[in-house]
Amino acid sequence: MSRLCRWMGLWLMGILGLGSSTGWAEIRETGVWWLPRNVSNFGHEIDFIFYVILWLTGITAVLVFGVMIYFIVKYRHRAGVGAIHSHGNNTLEIVWTTIPVFIFLALAIYGNEMWAKMRMETPPTDALQVAIVGEQFGWNLRYPGPDGKLAKMDSQKISKENPFGIDPGDPDGKDDFTTYNDMVVPVGKAVRLHLSSKDVIHSFYVPEFRLYQDMVPGRVYDFVWFKTDAKGHFQLACNQLCGQGHYKMFGKLGVVTQEEYDSWAKGKAPAPATASTASAPQNVSVANR
């Protein structure tokens, strides 16, 4: 009973927005009904298009519902008042076909311009390269060492023993280091991802980056990149159903200053040539029932 009371109390606190933050990631205390804050470069453009569509559809919705309610009230059945006999109006049909065509095409063209900018332009050459390989149910990450170069990944070589599918003799990989469920990126620096998976499809999803990308086994996607513009502690979540433990496949994602990043990276030992990651592949923060 006391647990029930506490639960209801927590629930009420949630409603009133009084929740307290004790964990790793930011817990929003205000604005829970709306978008989380955005810290990535492309997020601003995505939010902009989002608001354009929101205003467009919002105004249209008000008009459509307004007209509908007006008609329902005005033309409700009354004794002795008949309906107008009309089979339609071709001019109106042309008008309400043409206008949506132009609006929707404009949205598609503008959206695709943004899409091309985000996904099809070559990422900056000075970007920090990070390899991420999903597995049931966690994230293998590989960072370049002091040489700034990541070993080349070959999706055909990805295996249990070689999660990143690298060539053991690759000199670029000698000083790479790996982490498990722990991602850190320096603020203000472009980050280019090399995404793949060991087993099933996973996805890289960070709402504060406005970023989602499936990670398909057998392929390495390297077109996703982003640049952050504020520090913060977030969670990296898998957002493609990947099996029984899907719901707790998440990792820490810290956006820190360059200095903090450098000292974090310095503490990491280079990865053995092909061995699997050292840290335990378990999400210890959650009891597994």
Partner: protein, 593 residues
């Protein structure tokens, strides 16, 4: 009966069948009306099974059995311990599968398609009555096979109704080899039933229309079912092929989709969505057609822009086959291809906009009745508008990068499928119930049911937009393990409470439905004063439908015609001798006999 059957056989010259009696009638009758009712009753049963699954999964989201309390205790006092993560995955997989393949498709296409097509085009039965009956039993078998998954080792399929490979195709990854195989087998068999139904509908509509029933005199419900049948015929075989490949991968080592053995995970997605997107229109087109009819009858006005409505549906049917890639913007398929699918997706929004404007035009200047069928039909239009608008966000490729696979899409497709198809289903049931059973459903109970459903539907599904924008992923068994989602938990609990209220409101519908079978007010032949052919015969119509094959003299929507003593003119009413029919000669009826 024998005279009716004789004249009927003389007119159409197709193989004659006799009316079965008693319990045999409901098991082996090949009468399209009985088959329609078999579909209706079975899918209403499945509706409550699917709804029950939904409530269980909503309960888990509000009070997760996986949750860790701040003090380290596991679970919370309200959680249901038997909902473990794997069972949760099976719950949402089977909820969607049941609702799509065993509820919305069979109600709109199976029940109303079968019941209404012959009655509305003026013939005695479907072109292939025996195949029609076979299609029902095959469909029922498919449903039982899919649900049997809950009772096998490993449990029911748990990789989502989309069953993305290689999760679905490699037993070691999903842990539900038997359940997933049963799911795929069920999908394959379900497809056979759809294909049998589809060519039956097409053949019937093309060949068996009554004299004078030109294509452009057909009610929009028939047009919608006609176009839907083509979509079924072209899309379903692709799903069946994918399902067969999935069975082979799971059980016979073929590796079509397993990249570790040279297969292609994206191949599944292309096959699935090539079916999956036309499927979306299969689920909504019949609803659009029936709602158009109900709006017209209850506004006492012709459908505004009848031909525009037909062309819009044809456009939706055609374009529906070139937009499947919008489900895959962020799957990693070719990026230019994504952009191209983005354009076609925006274009397909146009015919939906046209239909919405025409629905508004239909009620403009009407004499609008407020019966339950009409309330549900108008709710369909309003909810479809919201569902359509949220679709525009996801059609925009950049916004999709953010909202893909969040609760925003869950809100979107429930606004289309529940707000659209299910409200249309209720409208159609309230509207054609008197034709099916000879009695009206209770209007007061109907209105209470409508009001509660409408309110709780919106309270349940609208906040899902918000939690989706807040970053909540779909298909996670416990949102509270995510720190960034913890603040959203009260909204999740609110949604669950609304869902439970929504579910329990349906008991009123069920009570009304079964009570009215015996105690409803007798309906008579044409209680709504509608013009189409099904209202020219008794309620329920006898075996063979029409004692004499009707001759059609006018379009389906002659309401409030100036100078006519009544505000509706039946399609069978000949033009007055002193008045020309006002139609071009090619549309004038062939004289009967």
């Amino acid at each position: 009966m024998s005279t009716a059957a004789l004249s009927h056989a003389d007119t159409h010259g197709h193989h004659e069948h006799h009316e079965a009696t008693g319990w045999k009638k409901y098991l082996w009758s090949v009468d399209h009306k009985i088959i329609g009712l078999q579909y209706l009753f079975s899918s209403l049963l499945f509706l409550f099974i699917g709804g029950g699954l939904a409530l269980l999964l909503r309960w888990q989201l509000a009070f997760p059995s996986t949750q860790v309390m701040p003090d380290g205790n596991v679970g919370n006092p309200l959680s249901l311990a038997f909902i473990n993560p794997q069972f949760y995955n099976a719950l949402f997989t089977m909820h969607a599968t049941v609702m799509i393949f065993l509820v919305v498709m069979p109600v709109l296409v199976g029940a109303f398609g079968n019941y209404l097509i012959p009655l509305k085009i003026g013939c005695g039965d479907m072109a292939f009555p025996l195949i029609n009956e076979l299609s029902f039993w095959v469909w029922l078998a498919s449903g039982l096979i899919m649900l049997a998954g809950f009772f096998v080792a490993g449990g029911a399929a748990a990789s989502g109704w989309t069953s993305y490979a290689p999760l679905s195709s490699v037993a070691a990854y999903n842990g539900t080899k038997i359940g997933q195989t049963l799911w795929a087998a069920g999908i394959f068999i379900n497809g056979l039933a759809s294909i049998m139904g589809a060519f039956n509908y097409i053949t019937t509509i093309v060949n068996m229309r009554a004299p004078g029933m030109g294509f452009f005199r057909m009610p929009l419900a028939v047009w919608a079912l006609f176009i839907t049948a083509f979509l079924l015929l072209l899309a379903i075989p692709v799903l069946s092929a994918a399902g067969a490949m999935l069975i082979l991968d799971l059980n016979f080592g073929t590796n079509f989709f397993n990249p570790a053995k040279g297969g292609q995970p994206l191949l599944w997605q292309h096959l699935f969505w090539f079916f999956g997107h036309p499927e979306v229109y299969i689920l909504i087109l019949p609803a659009m057609g029936m709602v158009s009819d109900i709006l017209s009858v209850n506004s006492r006005k012709p459908v505004f822009g009848y031909r525009a409505m037909v062309y819009a549906m044809v456009a939706i049917g055609g374009l529906g086959f070139v937009v499947w890639g919008h489900h895959m913007f962020v799957s990693g398929m070719n990026l230019v291809l994504s952009a191209a699918f983005g354009v076609s997706t925006m274009v397909i929004a146009v015919p939906s906009a046209i239909k919405t404007f025409n629905w508004l035009g239909t009620i403009w200047g009407g004499a609008i009745r407020f019966n339950t069928a009409m309330l549900n039909a108008r709710a369909f239009v309003a909810m479809f508008v919201i569902g359509g608008f949220s679709g525009i966000f996801m059609a925009s490729t950049p916004v999709n990068i953010f909202v893909h696979h969040t609760y925003f899409i869950v809100a979107h497709f429930h606004y289309v499928l529940f707000g659209g198809s299910i409200f249309a289903m209720f409208a159609a049931i309230y509207f054609w119930y008197p034709k099916m059973f000879g009695r009206l459903m209770n209007e007061t109970l109907g209105k209470i049911h409508f009001a509660l459903t409408f309110i709780f539907f919106n309270l349940c599904f609208f906040p899902m937009h918000n939690v989706g924008l807040g970053g909540m992923m779909r298909r996670i068994a416990d949102p509270t393990v995510y720190e960034h989602l913890r603040a959203l938990q009260p909204i999740n609990q609110f949604i669950t409470i609304s869902a439970i209220a929504l579910g329990f409101s349906q008991i009123i519908f069920l009570y009304n439905f079964f009570r009215s079978l015996r105690h409803g007010q007798p309906a008579g032949q044409n209680p709504w004063e509608a013009t189409t052919l099904e209202w020219t015969v008794g309620s329920p119509p006898g075996h063979g439908n029409f004692a004499v094959t009707p001759t059609v003299y006018r379009g389906a929507y002659e309401y409030s015609v100036p100078g006519h003593p009544k505000d509706f003119i039946m399609q069978t009413e000949p033009p007055a001798p002193d008045q020309p029919s006002g139609l071009p000669s090619r549309l004038r009826p062939v004289p009967a006999g």
